[in-house]
Amino acid sequence: MAGLWWELLVLAWKNLWRNRRRTLITLAAMSLTLMLIQVLNNLSMGSYRQMIQSGVRAGSGHLTLNAPGYREQQDIALAFDVTPFWACIEQQPEVQQALPRLYLPGLAQSGYDSRGILLQGIDMTREAGSNPFLKSLSCDHWLRPDVPEDALLGIQLADQLHLKAGNKFVVTLQNSRNELVSELFRVRGVLQTGLQDVDQSLVLVSLERAGLLAALPGKIHELAILLQEQQQVGAVYQQLHEALRDQPGIELLTWQQAMPNLYHAIQLDYASQNAILLIMLVIVVIGIANTLLMSVMERSHEFGLILALGARPFRLVELVVAEALVLGALAAVCGAVLGGLGTWYLWARGIDLRQFISEEIEYGGIVFEPVLRAVWDVPWMAQSALFLVVLSVMASVYPALRAARLTPVAAMRRR
């Protein structure tokens, strides 16, 4: 029986090339569509990866440690002491960096004006290599460990307050005991992140200074945990969750939970893109169905002959389906090769968005890298190629049934 199927495939192959031009056109349409959807998908995956990458680094990490309820209530009193957990977290081999932070809303005043700000207490040495907000900053503008009054300002905030490096300004805020406190800081450097919100309101100071100001010495609001690889999130979450289970006063979140806006923006984009890719495939399927139907109609005399020679009608169904299978498989191979080449180019070279847009690109609270790169989503590439074969077989069902309904006498009278 396997032998017979093989013969059917060989016959189908020969039949496909009877109308060489039509087959080539259909094949080209199928392959190019497959290539396009594979490249688009891989490029989106690349951009999502980038979004997550810079999102977790500027934001709350792949995994986040909080006091329970801090995310919802934003109450500065909900802080915790991280020292008991340090060892447990840092000994995980997947953990690249753990960033302790304090977030204190307040008011900044210069001699010129005043503005609402978000004062962020950070560990400069840990943040320097990880936080994309600090990328534009040269190291001689870093916060110095021995100078507690050093502060870094968002560029728009500095402009509005007419502040330059070396100038002094005062930060006033409500501490965790609900007292109003003020403190003098000196501008050490100015940050340009490209994110309006951040550039208008961010003030970075040392963690110790912020802790003293807020009457939260030794405590933090958030520990942002960065991992070596994005894919490790699930596994490391499981391990840490297990290890930290009996600790009261802390809560472990994934980036999807800690940054739902980013996560939902990506999910929405992915869903709408998949819908478009599906529509493209459906259009191609209509093309395949048309090609197969034309070829069945043209050959009704021959199909009548095959029936007259004693073939059961189901043989014709098999033959037409085999043609669709061969066509689909051929297109899947060609399309995947083209898709691989396209992905390879966009993986190795990338698209330099600076050619098209001069400003930086902000989406979902994230600044994009100016060079968009594809990633290799090999399982998806395999799935989409296989899906094309399945769709092509599905497209052959109607033409195949048309062939099976022929009766030998009627079919042979045609022509």
Partner: protein, 233 residues
């Protein structure tokens, strides 16, 4: 023994508002190993009769028995199997599968039966040799002359060793020389293998060669003449 028996067979085609009586109460029997021609003017019902005998179509009324079996009681699938196992066809023209070589065309019914590739090749080549087509086995139909194509079709009809070979105007597209040659070939196979041959024709030259001439007119049997042997001398 009569391999083919028709009793009171009628065939009516619906044709617009009217109906066409293609065969009217035809009673006929053809014995195994006969070599007979269906003669008659155009529209007399020759093709219709061959299609009924070949199980390509069903009679409107009457009974057709093939090798003892009443065809009317068979399902479409059984009829397909019947054609595959016991009947060989040669049609007037366009009767080969264009993408297959001569050899593959001949072997096609064996492929449908699931016979292995080597066995198929052997039997196809054997018949191509008998029919004088050695050296042409790899050509496609488009690269063969009309006469060669018809001989390939005869080979295909015979390859499954059927009990009956039905040929509808096999010589209509051939010149006289080729027609005579094809007829002689079929006659020889009839004598050597005992296969029943029934073919239609309105060419007097062809009709002359047959041992039995069944003449139709307006769907009725006009004459049924057996000659002792038209072919000898």
């Amino acid at each position: 023994m009569s391999g083919i028996e028709l009793q009171q067979v009628s065939k009516i085609y619906p044709s617009g508002h009217q109906q066409v009586q293609a065969l009217v109460d035809l009673t006929l029997s053809i014995d195994d190993g006969e070599f007979c021609v269906l003669a008659g003017p155009s529209g007399s019902g020759k093709t219709t009769l061959l299609n009924l005998i070949g199980c390509l179509d069903r009679a409107t009324s009457g009974t057709i028995r093939l090798f003892g079996q009443d065809v009317a009681t068979c399902s479409a699938r059984q009829l397909a199997d019947f054609r595959l196992q016991r009947i060989g066809f040669v049609f007037q023209s366009y009767n080969l599968i264009p993408v297959l070589s001569a050899e593959e065309n001949v072997a096609f019914p064996l492929m449908l039966r699931g016979v292995g590739r080597d066995e198929r090749r052997r039997r196809a080549l054997e018949l191509l040799t008998v029919l004088g087509l050695v050296g042409l086995e790899h050509r496609r139909p488009a690269d063969l002359s009309g006469g060669q194509q018809q001989r390939v079709a005869v080979a295909r009809a015979l390859v499954g060793e059927p009990s009956v070979v039905l040929a509808d105007e096999p010589t209509a597209n051939l010149d006289t020389g080729n027609s005579v040659e094809l007829l002689e070939m079929m006659h020889r196979l009839n004598r050597e293998r005992g296969t029943t041959f029934i073919f239609s024709s309105h060419d007097p030259l062809v009709i002359k060669q047959a041992e039995r001439v069944i003449e139709l007119q307006d769907g009725r049997l006009k004459a049924d003449n057996r000659r002792c042997s038209a072919h000898e001398t």
